[in-house]
């Protein structure tokens, strides 16, 4: 299948300008995403320092193994995404590009699946803020009224992150279809790069979420 020439939009002078505009545009967009997540990180910072015990107690309800798993899965998906971009840039053939994109998609899917399980566990243990909120086995000496702060932020931050993952999965599907049609060449593979940047950013957010949400005090309540 012959590869397509660069798809040059009419308002750009040349492909170089278009590519640089796309790249800068994606980076500026990621900057807005950083500030978007940043607001919730600020709220987290404020309340963790105000209620360290409540946060530690609430955090201990999380399954660290699943969290670790998810972290490693996402790191793996970043690797496969980077390799997908590399294959497109190096002209390694569309089969490899598609393969790595599919691997990324699968790993992303695993992440979301584990997340779904975690959310479900929270739901049945009444740890979701709202009408049904009533965490079980709460240590007596720790103020439970602040537990909803932690869980609210937990669902807010991981929920925001997960919705970004879902969008990423959608973007990957699009890329896979287009890559399979041979649309991406060493001369033009900008969409793959741009989705790659987005995917890595979402990975970075999780790199911070994992220790902040899961590892506050893994030994809490033991011995």
């Amino acid at each position: 299948m012959a590869s397509h020439a660069t798809v040059l939009r009419h308002h750009f002078e040349n492909g170089e300008q278009q590519k640089e505009a796309s790249s800068l545009g994606m980076w500026v967009f990621l900057l807005t995403e950083l500030m978007f997540f940043g607001g919730m990180f600020m709220a987290y910072l404020a309340y963790r320092q105000a209620y360290p015990d409540s946060f530690a107690a609430a955090s201990s309800k999380l399954n660290v193994t699943l969290g670790m798993c998810n972290t490693l899965v996402l790191i793996g998906s970043s690797l496969t995404m980077a390799l997908a971009v590399r294959c497109a840039a190096a002209g390694s053939g569309k089969k490899l590009v598609v393969l790595f994109l599919i691997l990324t998609l699968l790993l992303g899917g695993v992440f979301l699946g584990i997340k779904a399980k975690e959310y479900h566990d929270k739901w049945i243990h009444h740890e979701v803020p709202g009408a049904n909120f009533h965490p079980e086995d709460w240590p007596k000496n720790v103020d439970m009224s602040h537990a909803s702060l932690y869980f609210g932020l937990y669902f807010g931050m991981t929920g925001l992150h997960a919705s970004h993952m879902v969008i990423g999965v959608g973007l990957l599907l699009f890329l896979i279809i287009r890559a399979n049609q041979g649309a991406y060449t060493p001369e033009w593979h900008t969409p793959v790069e741009m989705v790659g940047l987005y995917w890595h950013f979402v990975d970075i957010v999780w790199i911070f979420l994992f220790p902040l949400l899961y590892l506050i005090d893994p030994n809490f309540g033991r011995q």
């Binding site: 308002h11 505009a21 800068l24 545009g25 900057l31 803020p129 602040h146």
Partner: protein, 541 residues
């Protein structure tokens, strides 16, 4: 001369390039998108104006006789939300910025034309939520949505209003993103940064703020929605939440937001002053850098809205000092504009009248901000009419005058028509007088202690309130006049040539109205911006 037996054909332009609703609603032409925005924001300006009229009508008498207290709360809330998020913030960037920036840098369009159109649709979608709120009872929290009232106690359409503003925020973000990439990557050959018109510098700085600040208020609104829906306690003291945290997150954006509203106006003023004094702006580099300085420093002062909130006094002191610092770049601009006019060849065209009005009114507004930046004074003046007067001087006397100045300056370029000059000057004077009559008495009221957001007040304040309401009537009528003659000019206005003002700048080298692709051939820039001196030499020789 040809004897016309039929009307002369209008040359093809972006206005005639495709007819029908679809060609407008699915356009990717930045000029058409600018017109779409112009229509939408004018619509919201009228809505915001109706709320203002009701407020001033109620305040003409000391008793709460026109509106119930609950209803009055909704009036000032809706006035603020509509005017700030749906009029002022998009006003100049989405209309004049969208229209002119590609032309000023010699480009055929913005970097991302389809994202530009998307930003308009997002804005309209957010606006639909606001109209829904309007029709179903309004919201009464103040445009500032302070918690825990907005999250736990208000019985009004807080969620819908929050969703509308959240959505509209993304429109602002996309506009800013588009401008930043366009200005970095699509300048014509030879157009270095320091040859750019100051209008472009102003919009670059504005876009920085839109990118860095809006996401924070977006996530804050999301948290308010979560709190209202799920009672997680994030801003509710009863559950351990901190209402002041809300204020920090809210004002981190909302203070820089006021610079989103004023910086583009300042860019307009720079263009107009230089054109109608026939001079390069004095201290061009200082004006350019001061725009960026305002954008950066504007992010460091938000705590001056929290002086009496129980924020740490030490933090208050730091915010106070920084608030004085942020006034400096604005002052630099005012000095430079004034110096440009000194011994310049001043022509008192309509845009120039608005620009001069801007300088005076913005200066008053800015100086009164310094009163409020002083911790001790703010304890007495905060939440009084002094604050209301201050921000209306900068937002209306500043930003809106700048917007009108820009409309009057670039109307011939955008539409190919001139408006009636005498009426435009009459309207300008009426607006200036009406504005001062409305808002100057409010400084006095605030100083005397009348609180803001109250519709019942002691009888001794009535005389100033009546003056203010009278002024508002004059101001409202003043705003109607340009609306009428601009509409009139579309059909009956004298056709304008490419450069009716004799201004420099690439946008004046192309026809009025411009063709869809702006430039047939990408221009190559070899001269500095504002080369008025060279023009004069050519004419004399």
């Amino acid at each position: 001369m040809l004897t016309a037996t039929r009307a002369p054909e209008r040359p093809s332009s972006y206005l005639t390039d495709g007819y029908g609703l679809k060609s407008w609603l699915l356009t990717s032409d930045h000029k058409r998108i600018a017109i779409l925005y112009l229509i939408s924001i004018t619509f919201f300006f009228f809505i915001g104006g109706i709320f203002a009229a009701l407020i001033r009508l109620e305040l003409a008498t000391p008793a709460g006789d026109l509106l119930e207290s609950d209803v009055y709360n909704k009036m000032f809330t809706m006035h603020g939300i509509v005017m700030i998020f749906f009029f002022l913030i998009p006003s100049i960037p989405a209309t004049l910025g969208n229209f002119l920036i590609p032309e000023m840098i010699g480009a055929k369009d913005l970097a991302f034309p389809r994202i530009n159109l998307l930003s308009w649709y997002i804005y309209v979608f957010g606006g639909i939520f606001v109209v829904y709120v309007l029709l179903t009872g309004g919201v009464d929290t103040g445009w500032t949505f302070y918690t825990p009232f907005s999250t736990s106690y208000s019985n009004t359409k807080v969620m819908a209003a929050a969703v509308g503003i959240f959505i509209a925020g993304f429109s602002s973000i996309l506009t800013g993103l588009n401008f930043i990439v366009t200005i970095h990557r699509m300048r014509a050959p030879g157009l270095s940064w320091f040859r750019l018109p100051l209008f472009v510098w102003a919009h670059y700085a504005t876009s920085m703020i839109q990118i860095l600040g809006t996401p924070v208020v977006a996530v804050t609104i999301l948290l308010v929605a979560m709190e209202r829906g799920l009672h997680i306690g994030i801003f509710d003291p009863a559950l351990g939440g901190d209402p002041v945290l809300f204020q920090h997150l809210f004002w981190f954006y909302s203070h820089p937001a006021v610079y989103i509203m004023i910086l583009p106006s300042m860019g307009v003023i720079s263009e107009i002053i230089s054109t109608f004094t026939r001079r390069r702006p004095f201290g061009y580099t200082f004006i350019a850098f001061s725009s960026v300085a305002i954008a950066v420093f504007g992010f460091l002062v938000w705590g001056h809205h929290l002086f009496v909130s129980s924020q740490s006094v030490y933090a208050g002191m730091v915010f106070s000092i920084l608030s004085y610092v942020v006034a400096i770049p604005s002052a630099i601009k005012v000095f430079n504009w004034t110096a440009t006019m000194y011994k310049g060849s001043v022509e008192l065209s309509t845009p120039m009248l608005y620009a001069i009005g801007f300088i005076g009114l913005f200066t008053i507004g800015g100086l009164t901000g310094l009163f409020l930046a002083c911790l001790g004074m703010d304890v007495h003046l905060t939440d009084t009419y002094f604050v209301v007067a201050h921000f209306h001087y900068v937002m209306v006397g500043g930003a809106i005058m700048g917007y009108l100045a820009g409309l009057h300056f670039w109307w011939p370029k955008m539409t190919g028509r001139m408006y009636p000059v005498l009426w435009s000057k009459i309207a300008g004077v009426i607006i200036f007088l009406g504005f001062n009559l409305t808002f100057f008495p409010q400084f006095i009221l605030g100083f005397l202690g009348m609180p803001r957001r109250y519709h019942v007040y002691p009888p001794e304040f009535q005389v100033y309130n009546v003056l203010s309401s009278a002024g508002a009537t004059v101001l409202g009528l003043g705003y109607l006049i340009p609306f009428i003659y601009f509409m009139w000019s579309l059909k009956y206005g004298k056709p304008a040539g490419p450069n009716p003002w004799g201004a420099t700048g690439l946008e004046w080298q192309i026809p009025s109205p411009p063709p869809t692709e702006n430039f047939e051939v990408t221009p190559v820039v070899t001269v500095e911006a504002y080369e008025y001196h060279a023009q004069e030499v050519v004419e004399v020789g």
